[in-house]
């Protein structure tokens, strides 16, 4: 993990640049272990910035979230860069956005931070959900040292770290203007063990599994809204002419929505796990998107968010693509 003082210094330098509007980072949240996205326009605001394994939000979403409202006559759009703090997976989101031309490289200043995994808020809540006091956390390799209101505790990393981080293959940012902290040498391998586990079950068992999850969905679209690659101006889920997904919340429509989203993020999802993290109904979305990721690798040997020059998966083809299962 990066040295905080050094990080703030670097960010301050960027905030002070004339061509930078603001820098997106993290600050301490309003209670307990919660961390909040933060926007710094001045060096003083940078002093609020923190960086710890509790910083889980994928900030890349904010690059595409700002509404472009029609400006009054004579007023020109403020063309300034946005600085953003990214970890390995978030940097892949940025690459993906660049690849799809959702943003241009000149619009962003990327501050890369190598990341050795983030804490899963839901696990954190289970363990320390009753603590409202300030939570400080430090990554000590195998363990997290957690200090709450001066009380020190140690927890095995295994127990708290986010599932997706356990098998993260890209702990170092794949793109950055400034790299803060030392690159992580250790290499992990994604084994898709959970996906495989489900794959081995029967069709009926798999349907029973997902049926229960999809029935629960309340269609708050938090999964979609927190997702950097879900940046369509108008989502098909809300289109009324024609209606692709009906407005009613039922198994059929919920399943339709999740099938649609998994297809639309195929070859684009970089597996940050945000969607699963924000789901208020604990739907294991990563298990779905990891499956798509795995298939895309197996079928087309394609990995999202690594090369900004690469063409998007579904806008290219190869004559040698699999003919399996085609009559």
């Amino acid at each position: 993990m990066a040295d905080l003082a050094k990080m703030r210094n670097e960010i301050k330098k960027i905030v002070q640049r004339d061509d930078v509007k603001y820098v997106i980072g993290y600050e301490k949240g309003t209670y307990g272990w919660r961390v909040s996205p933060s926007f710094a326009r001045t060096p003083e605001e940078v002093d609020k910035f923190i960086f710890s394994p509790l910083c889980v939000n994928n900030l890349a979403v904010y690059l595409v979230l700002e509404e472009k409202l029609p400006l009054p006559k004579g007023v020109e759009e403020e063309k300034k860069k946005i600085g953003i703090v990214v970890t390995g997976c978030d940097s892949r989101s940025v690459v993906q956005l660049l690849q799809e031309k959702a943003i241009s490289r000149d619009d962003v200043v990327i501050l890369g931070v190598p990341c050795s995994g983030v804490v899963e808020p839901k696990k954190m809540k289970e363990m320390f959900g009753k603590e409202i006091g300030t939570v400080a956390i430090e990554d000590k390799g195998e363990k997290y040292v957690i200090v709450i209101d001066g009380k020190r505790r140690e927890v095995l990393k295994e127990e708290l770290v986010s599932e997706n981080c356990k098998t993260c293959e890209y702990q170092n940012p794949v793109i950055s203007d400034i790299l803060i902290g030392d690159e992580i040498k250790e290499k992990k391998k994604e084994s898709y063990s959970k996906v495989r586990e489900l794959e081995e079950k029967s069709t009926q068992e798999r349907w029973d599994y997902w049926k229960e999850k999809f029935e629960r969905c309340i269609r708050c679209y938090a999964c979609r809204n927190c997702c950097p690659v879900c940046n369509c101006k108008e989502c098909m889920a809300e289109k009324t002419t024609p209606v692709w997904i009906r407005r009613s919340v039922s198994l059929s429509e919920n399943a339709g929505f999740h099938i649609m989203r998994s297809l639309h993020t195929a070859g684009r999802c970089i597996g940050c796990g945000s969607c699963e993290r924000v789901c208020p109904m604990n739907i294991p979305l990563s298990k779905l998107y990891k499956k798509v990721e795995k298939d895309v690798i197996e079928l087309f040997d394609y990995r999202a968010g690594l090369d900004e020059e690469e063409k998007p998966l579904l806008s290219v083809y190869s004559v040698d693509d699999s003919n399996e299962y085609i009559l």
Binding site: V195, R206, A255, G256, I259, K291, I326, L327
Partner: protein
């Protein structure tokens, strides 16, 4: 009890498979009548949501018909369709929707007999797994 007769929706490309289906008809090749054909200009035009919507609206199986690789009227539409299909098939299978319900086939304008065979095979497979109820709209 009468035998289950599945509803099959077939999205057929204008230039090959639809013509193939036509040929099957004009050549009086018999094939099961459970198919509702929807003509699209190209298999590449088929939005995966067409398939989801068909399954939601009561189809027991969906068939996508396109030109043989290399023969697409628009030169590459069917290649794109193939990519989408392969991903879609895997996702549906993973979610517990039998992959036999969503099939793809290359049928050229001259393959009337192949069209009839494909239809028979799809219907035979769907009959084996029974009606689709998973994501039906109520």
């Amino acid at each position: 009890m009468s035998e289950f007769e599945p509803n099959i929706v077939a999205f057929l490309c204008n230039w090959c498979s639809y013509a193939g289906a036509d040929l099957a008809g004009t050549s009086r090749i018999e094939y099961p009548p459970n198919v509702k054909a929807i003509r699209v200009m190209c298999s590449g035009r088929i939005n995966p949501m067409f398939i989801v919507n068909a399954l939601q609206e009561g189809a027991d199986g969906v068939l996508i018909g396109g030109c043989h690789p290399g023969d697409c009227h628009y030169s590459q539409g069917n290649y794109y369709a193939r990519r989408k299909f392969q991903i879609m098939r895997k996702i549906l299978e993973y979610l517990g929707i039998d992959p036999a319900r969503v099939r793809m086939s290359w049928v050229s304008a001259s393959e009337g007999q192949k069209f009839a065979d494909v239809i028979s095979e799809v219907i035979g497979d769907v009959k084996k797994i029974g009606p689709a109820k998973n994501i039906n709209r109520i």
